[in-house]
């Protein structure tokens, strides 16, 4: 082997090693959960066509989960995307859409607003966001003390007594769903209303949504309506390429949504 070949093969080898398995293997959610035994694996389904951006889900979430109402932090929020005919993408989520969207001006932050004429709009829609309860949650991996963890049913929880507030998990989450709880000074996140789903209730946001844009279900149950849509329908997830296997599925996802 000459030097040229050696360099070539080693470069290929290294490239091959660093390639995550997920990029070669195409797996569907059904395959992953179908034969992993019975029990419960909570998943979420969002129909962006139905969302009207009223923000009642955000309001309900904050009150149900005792997230300080005036603080600009929230476990779930709704993003507005407006694509104009000149190819620009505008997005905002004032106060996480706690009070909905009652102006057609886009909030650019720092008190600046963008006026968009109705006739310039190419497409526009709302995208509710919440914790993806990833199958491989990076926020849990980085916790140095075991304060955040995944329960057997897939929900990622935070132990308020054990969290030291280092903030690694907040940095590690690709979806930005984590924040510091202003009162308890520990990491805080959406947990699919763990107290409600374990009592057979829907999450606060699902119940509050008047339009059925939010749904929660058990993917291991083939008869579950949400599970059926995810198995048989066309659904997408956000930031698939991170390999975290997010478990919030979206109907009507668009390329512009990040």
């Amino acid at each position: 082997m000459n030097r040229r070949d050696f360099l070539k093969y080693s470069a290929k080898g290294i490239a091959g090693l660093t390639l995550p398995l997920s990029t070669i293997e195409i797996v569907s959610p059904g395959e992953i959960f179908a034969d992993k035994g019975s029990g419960t694996r909570w998943v979420f389904l969002v129909d962006t066509y139905k969302c009207t951006g009223c923000g009642l889900c955000v309001k309900a979430c904050k009150l149900e989960n005792e997230v300080p109402y005036e603080a600009n932090v929230t476990r779930t929020w709704v993003e507005r995307y407006v694509l104009t005919k000149d190819g620009k993408v505008w997005a905002d989520t004032p106060k996480g859409a706690r009070d909905g969207f009652i102006t057609n001006k886009i909030d650019l932050g720092e008190g600046r607003f963008q006026d968009i004429k109705n006739e310039d709009i190419q497409k526009a829609f709302f995208v509710p966001k919440l914790c993806n309860q990833c199958e491989y949650p990076p926020c849990v991996q980085v916790c140095p003390v075991g304060a955040t963890y995944q329960a057997a049913d897939g929900v990622v929880l935070v132990d308020r007594n054990w969290c030291i507030g280092c903030g690694y998990c907040i940095m590690a989450c690709p979806y930005g769903v984590r924040f510091f709880h202003p009162v308890y000074k520990v990491a805080e996140k959406c947990n699919f209303c763990y107290h409600r789903i374990n009592k057979g209730l829907k999450t606060a946001c699902v119940q509050a949504c008047p339009f059925g844009a939010r749904m929660i279900g058990n993917i291991r149950d083939p008869e579950d309506p949400v599970s059926k849509v995810i198995r048989n329908g066309r659904v997408g997830v956000i930031k698939d390429e991170f390999g975290t296997m997010p478990q919030v599925y979206y109907i009507g996802l668009s390329r512009e949504v990040v």
Partner: protein
């Protein structure tokens, strides 16, 4: 066998044992790897119970039906039936014992969440009839003319 080399070793061993004893008392019993393995599941099992015991605050409209049957049966005949009572009246935990009365959100902003005109073709918003708040009776609460439990324009208060 007395060696100055061994002495630091004893100190290290002592510290190690002391550390393990302290650790044993500091770490709660529930800690372990549990179902999701070491990487994702290392935690205190008892904390799951903490989250399961968290108080439920939103009751749903069915709960209100027992006592506010007039409002319930009224709204259920209208397109506003899809809106939970608590979306406009706040979570009902404890009501009617404490608090004896739930708040009433009469703000225009509350109605405009859905009725502000946003011409977004691929969202559900466009299907809802809208009013321009600057033109449609500005400064007056919507509920002084419209009954939220019966928004039908026929029965409008005048």
């Amino acid at each position: 066998m007395k060696s100055h080399v061994l002495r630091p070793l004893f100190v290290v061993i002592f510290l190690l044992i002391a550390g393990l004893i302290v650790r044993h008392f500091l770490i709660p019993d529930g800690f372990g790897t549990h179902e999701r393995g070491y990487m994702y599941g290392w935690h205190n099992k008892n904390d799951e119970q903490f989250w399961k015991n968290f108080p439920v605050k939103y009751k749903s409209s069915d709960y209100c039906n027992d006592c506010h049957n007039d409002k319930h049966s009224s709204i259920m005949r209208t397109p506003h039936a899809i809106i939970q009572c608590e979306n406009c009246h706040g979570p009902a935990l404890g009501h009617p014992d404490s608090p004896p009365k739930l708040p009433i959100d009469r703000s225009r902003a509350q109605c405009l969440r859905c009725h502000y005109p946003l011409p977004y073709p691929t969202s559900g918003r466009q299907k809802i009839k809208s009013v321009d708040p600057d033109e449609h009776n500005p400064g007056t609460e919507c509920s002084s003319c419209h009954d939220p439990h019966n928004p039908d324009l026929e029965g409008i208060k005048s």
